[in-house]
Every structure is written in C-alpha cells, then in structure tokens.
C-alpha cells in the first residue's frame, strides 16, 4: 500500500454529492485525496461500509447527508448519524481514533461547504498521521 492519503466520503445524492458538483462548477478546489462514493441517501450507509473502508486502507471516512430536517428521505441523515456514532465507538475500541470518522450535513446549494469538509478531514489526518491499519494492509 502506498503512503498517500486517501479519504472516503459517502455522499448522499441530493445534498452532499450535489454540493460537490456545485463546488466543481464554481471551480472551488479541494484535495484530490478524497474519494467520493455516491449513495442515494446517507441513510443507506451501514456501519459496515465505514469499517470496510478502513480495512481497505482509508485514513479517514466521512458520511455527508442533507441538512438536518431537510433530508430528501425524511430522516435518512439521522439514521446515518447513528451509524457514524456507532462506527466511532467500534473504532476507538480497537485503538483507531474516532476523529477519523465524521458525519456532516450539507445542502446542495452550499458549494463552499464540501471543500470545507474535505479540508477538515485532511487536516485531521495531517494531525493524526496516516491510518495505523495501512502498515498491515498489503
């Protein structure tokens, strides 16, 4: 495994993914280390997706859904938050910093917000270093 930083961002189609699209249209750049995975709703995310991403070498994972109270699917973003909290607990149990996982809420028209989120996660990884799991993954 190489030593470059990789961050997985599960983005809901209606909010976060659209916000990333808008950031693109407005040419607001952000770190290429983020890999966006599109999901219909943040509520689709299972704790398994987050854990598997770490197992596969992610240095940080975030889930981004619509603003609270504004979820396209009513309360998918609340369910996602629960999953993220759960993943945080499990990760810290095995000695991986809980800060490597985060839940965000973004509206599709907040173009600046997506690059901001990426920046936040990148600076967390800068502080914490690359994932300790990277050493054991081939």
């Amino acid at each position: 495994m190489s030593d470059r930083m990789r961050i997985v961002g599960f983005c809901c189609s209606h909010g976060a993914y659209s916000s990333a699209d808008l950031a693109g249209v407005m040419r607001i750049s952000y770190s290429p280390s983020v890999m966006i995975i599109r999901v219909p709703c943040a509520g689709r995310i299972d704790v398994l997706h987050i854990l598997r991403a770490f197992r596969d070498g992610a240095d940080a994972v975030f889930v981004a859904g619509c603003l609270e109270g504004n979820c396209h699917f009513e309360y998918g973003n609340f369910e996602a938050r629960k999953m993220v909290e759960h993943a945080k607990r499990l990760l810290s149990d095995i000695g991986i910093e809980a800060e490597r996982v985060e839940m965000f809420n973004v509206a599709s028209n907040q173009a600046w917000r997506f690059p901001e989120i990426v920046g936040e996660m990148v600076s967390r990884v800068d502080k914490l270093g690359l994932s300790p799991l990277k050493k054991v993954i081939k």
Binding site: Y17, A20, D21, A23, V25, P32, R38, G43, E74
Partner: protein, 578 residues
Amino acid sequence: MTPEVHLRKGDELISLVTSTRPARPGSRRLRSVAEDKGDRIGVFICRCGGAVSRTVDVDSVAAHAASLNSVAFVKVMEFPCSAGGRAEILEDIREKNLGRFVVAGCSPRTHEKIFRALAAKAGLNQSMFEIANIREQCAFVHVPSEATAKAKVLIESTASKCNLLLPAPYEQIPLSSRKALVVGSGLSAVVAASHVSDQGFGVILVDPRGTSNEGEANSIKAGESVELFDKTLQRLKSNPLVRMLSGSKVIEFEGHPGDFRALIQTPDGEEDIRCGAAILAFDASPTHAAEDRDRREITQAEFGSLLGSRVVKMENIVMIVSDNSSEETVGRGNYVDAVASSLRLKELLPSADVTIIGSEARMYGLHELDHIRAQERGVRFIRPKGEVDIKHEGGLRVLVTDASSDAALSLPADLVVRSDVLRFEDAKKVASVFKIPINARGFFVESEVRLEPGSTLNRGVFLCGSAAGPRLVSEELLGASTAASQAVSLLASPFIEAGGTVAEVDPEKCSVCLNCIRICPYTAPFINEESKAEIDIQTCQGCGICVGICPSKAIQMYGYTDAQLFSQASASLRGGGT
C-alpha cells in the same frame, strides 16, 4: 427543526403486518454475483469539448482503463451525451457485444437520465451503466497532474462497481382509475375539486362536515371567500364529472398512485370507491372558547359572525393578537384578520373605538394597504411590553404597557377579541388512514416543501388547505391549485413507472423482525401472505434506510448493494495504478 423519526407502531404497524397481500408474482431475488461475472464492460471517456481534456490527460486515462481486467472496450469521445455520441455508443454496445458500460464525464445528477434511456435503447436493462464523475468532481477541482491520476482511480472504482451491477426491476403500470378523491369541506376543497374537474378528470368530493349540502361556508373565512366558495360549489354541483358525498368520511385508504381504493362511510352506508390520486383539502377550524369564560371575551371567528349579523353596538373594542411564539397553534393571518375586522367594524360603526394590541405586525403583501387604511380610520395600534392583563371588575379594562412610550395604559372595553386558536380535528385519525406523518403541532407533514409543495410521503396523496399548517386565504387558493395540478399530472400520465433503484427482501434470510416496516418513511415494506417481509416496488423510493437497519441483512438495494459499495470503495482506495 428536528423531524422525529416516525417509527410506525400501533394500528398503523398492524395494518401493514396483517395485510393479506400475496407475494409479488415473479418477485425476483438479487441475482448472485457470480452469474454476472464476465459481462463485458465498455468505458466511454468524455473530453467534453476540452472541459475535461484540458485538465485530464484522457489518453493516459484511457490506457489505464484498458489495462483493467473487467474492461473489454475503451473509447475516448468528444461528447458522449450528444445525439451523435449516443448513436456511436449504441453501435459499440451492439458491435462489441457489451453487457454494461461506464461513462466517464458529467455528473450523474445531470446525465443519468440520458444514459438510462440509452441503455434501454441498446436492449440492456436500464440500470446496467454507471457514471464516473471526472468533470465536476475531478477536472474542475484538481490541478492537471492530480486530476489525471484521480480520473484513473474514479474510472477504476466505477468499473468495479459496474462489474457487479444487477438488472433492476422496471415496471410500467397502467392506471386503474383516473379520478381524484378530494376530501374536505372548506374553500380549498371546492377549489381543488373544480381545478381537477375543469381539466376533464372525474372527482369524488368527500365532505365530512356536510357544508356543501347546506351551502354554508366555513365560518372563519369571511368576506370574499364566502362568495367564491358558494360560486365554486354551485359550479361543481352542475358538473357531471363531480360526485359529492356529503357528511361522509374516508375510513380506509390503500393502494398505489393510479390505483387507490377507499372505503367511504356515507349517511347511507359504506361505499367502496377507486381513484388514481387523492387531495386532502382540510381546514383547521377555530376552537370554541371555554364555556365558563366571560361573555365579553370572544374570538375573531365569533366576532366575524357578529359583524356578519350587522348588529354591533359596542363602542370600545380591544383586539389582542397572539404572536407566533405562543404555545397554541394560531393562524398565520392573525394580524391580517384583526385589521380586516377592525375595518369592517369601522364601516358598520364609524364611531367605534378600536385598539389592536400585538407585537408582530405581520401584514403580508398587499394586506399592508389595509393596515394603512385602518390607521387612517383611527384604529389604535399598540405594541405591548410584557403581559397584557384584563381586569374584570365592573366594565372590562385592558391593562397594557405601550412599548414605545413606556406608558401604562388602562383601556375600557365592551368587548375583548382574541386571535383564533386553530385546531385540526381528527388529524391523528385521518393521518393514520392516509398513512401520512403528522408533526408535533398536529399538522400533516409535506414531503417536499420546496420541490414539490403539497406532496406527501404517500405518493399520489396531496395536501392543501391548512392541512400542513395555517395559511392565509390567498395561500390556500394557491395551495389548492398546486395540489390539483399535481394530481392532474399524475392522472394524465399514460402509466406509472415503478422500480429501478429499489430495495428487495430475500425471504430466506428475513427473520420477520418488522424493523424495516417500522422505519421505512414510505410504508413500502409489508408482511406478505408467506409471512415474510416484502417491499412494494411501487412505493419504495430507494432511500436504502431499511438495508442498513435489517439485522438479518436480508435486504439489498438495486444499484447500491453492499457488494457494489464495498467494491467501489475498495477500488477507490487501492486503484489508480500509481
């Protein structure tokens, strides 16, 4: 605002669990992954007239894509989404015998529809393609060296998801009824019904209060709206497309857009009807003041009927307008109502002395003109500081401190008129019949306030009137036509499309824990005759919430199965060749 997660329980849960719906014939299970391996993937990379290729070295990206095991064919194109581009892809799919394809270019948010149609045209299942967003999420935001590397990873991870795609179910279901059911007794109900019938669709108007029979309008909406109500009602009565069931209510409601069944309790017994869409046009009604109150303290609604009777003798009137921060559900038009009735009073009795006490002078739009008119006629406006008190000894006196002068005032009053407190009777019952969540204030929840106002979580059921919250008369009229046009566009469609990105239960794994039934925002899962959970593809909106919640991992979702997401994430972490 925090929406509650609406967990289904009680009667509502039971109705979904005890349904006798048979398992969907030919209900498919997600096909095993192995079955689809070996399908040939074509990758079409877009230069986008330079928008992509200026930053991304598309040829090196194409070479990387061609090196991937799963990829059978790669082509760099100028504009794959153009008519010419699509024709080219179509030819390649046929010629190269491709089973699925990846388009690397624009965001799927904008281009998914185009390529879905193309897949169908090529004889593939509509979901057998994926889009790698190398434009908005790559070329536009990264510097050239990074963008090229990233585009490689994006295409690699998208191809690895594409490799695992499964043909999704798509169905075109004919409408069994093109009539609309309209429920309500007030202005919104008759206006919505007339809009629908004017466009040539049948209407069944269920009127719980029976006002359409008595020809008497909802008492709070005074003035012009009474006239409009009567006129519209007369028109409806002479329209052969409209059937009125007065003094009736809906006791059961089930089905799908285009195919609903409702059981209606009429004064002559129960009646089973079919409809393609439903409009709930309820009006919240003002509650009656407590019996033991002082007779000199009344509500705006009561004052309205007093004005209507034209025998007003009181000289000193004080109106107290509650603001929106008050606990009770008050109308949006409190202030508007108070000003309007002060003007009407001044017309009947020019010598009357009127004071309006209220902290929020909300006069929407042109209502502001009334505000000015009332000031010109000598209506007194006071913004209160602190509490407003009423002294009951002898004649009524209203004690208030004027916020601008800090003067403590004691106003004599023959009548004190308060704002109406609106209550939505039977909201809970109606909500559970129509399977629509209600919020903490007792109003129905609209699902897409901005994109599709008036729509609800139960597709095919629309809201207007004050069902979703207090409204001004002008807003109710607008709401009624919005709901009517939504219903009409549903009723006019040639068929209802269902399927695509939907969830599906593997009955062998289902442990019947009911979690999916309780959590789904749209009542899509139910227990079928075989005593297993099943997801109705016509109702499922494809959010995927049930997939993660199912403890038995019995649910998967077309287009976003766990396997697909795992493989996409994994490839995006390892991919790119470096």
